[in-house]
Chain length 222, copies 2
């Protein structure tokens, strides 16, 4: 239907929009790894197809139809990630890359089959929500682990899947969705956090800790 390139642009626009309104050409180009001129070109094409609204020099926003398309691709991506991890034993740092290519070629039947095989899941291995078939997506904004203060406790809900290195690092340490965590220490001047999971504690740099989203438990037992 729509080309792989178009699907990837729509997905990128969706994700950039999540973190703040209209998407600039340069942000889109950066995310897609192309020159700014290329992004402009594609945006104009998508606008012609009514998948986005483009106000020149002001950025681009998905239309209802464009958002539907983007969520369809994201659904494929996240279902695939989970399937690769659960059914084929992929480690969670490798699923993203493989899903990135598969997402564009699987049929609706394939999507349906793995959805059922996985027991109609709602979250991918990184804790990201899987859009429903009708284009519904439950967004839950959680705090960055790096923003919590010492003494705070909570449960990991999401880990950014953008960096495979980081995922491997965190996976080994059990810092995965549904793990309970407690912030023991937080060094000043953007210093590292000391975090406890289970019986072990780990020292994490701010950068790494910002990849982890935590549902904080109210600190009412302090």
């Amino acid at each position: 239907m729509f080309s792989q390139a178009m699907q990837d642009y729509l997905k990128a626009i969706y994700k950039l929009q999540e973190q703040g309104g209209a998407v600039s050409t340069s942000a889109l180009a950066e995310a897609m790894g192309v020159a700014a001129a290329s992004a402009t070109g594609m945006v104009k094409k998508l606008a012609g197809l009514k998948l986005v609204r483009h106000h020149p020099y002001q950025g681009v926003v998905l239309s209802k139809a464009g958002e539907k398309m983007a969520l369809e691709v994201i659904r494929h991506h996240r279902l695939l990630e989970l399937y690769l991890a659960e059914a084929l034993g992929y480690s969670w740092d490798k699923v993203h890359e493989e899903a990135e290519r598969l997402e564009h070629v699987i049929s609706e039947e394939f999507e349906e089959k793995i959805f059922e095989a996985l027991g109609r899941p709602t979250r991918d291995p990184h804790g990201d929500p899987i859009p429903a078939k009708d284009g519904t997506l439950v967004v839950a904004e959680h705090d960055r682990l790096s923003d919590l203060e010492p003494g705070a406790t909570g449960v990991i809900r999401q880990v950014s899947d953008s960096d495979a290195e980081v995922l491997r690092y965190l996976g080994i340490r059990g810092l995965v969705p549904d793990a309970a965590v407690e912030v023991l220490e937080k060094a000043p001047f953007n210093g590292p956090l000391t975090v406890k999971t289970g019986e072990t504690s780990h020292v994490l740099g701010r950068e790494v800790a910002s990849h982890i989203r935590v549902e904080a438990r109210a600190a009412d037992d302090a």
Copy 2:
């Protein structure tokens, strides 16, 4: 590495070569569903990459490297077909189409994972041999069911996967690889065959019967 188009051309050349030496431009174009000029163009490109040898006006032949590439793609295709059927419950008439797209995007790791999950299989759902990782392929030429004479018995070894309609038709009737068959009758003038599988007998047109390859048992009990 190589584009999807190149992979499909190599695969098509491989299959055409199987049924008789050098491949003509028109046969290749026909198989690929493109104009003859397009096939010539791609052949010249593949020749430049030393994947085929092209003698203008005389046809094209895969080089050793080209054959390796073709077998790699065919291995992907057949493993995927089997995986879709076994692990995801696809019916055998739908696996081909899905595998046709997936074959180009799965990683070597994916290939390895489904190969192991399937117990290192050697045949796809249609009975076609799966090339080994090193590019080895065991070819076994079997008789067409349509060429057997009344009284002949044997075991179905392969069913051509080129026509989904035919596959559905045969699947319902239990005419699948490993099924034992006996030719009861064969009407003259290219008429239909009457074939027995298990307790039921079926009347099959020549065309359909030619899609079935049978390992004949010597007719020594006639």
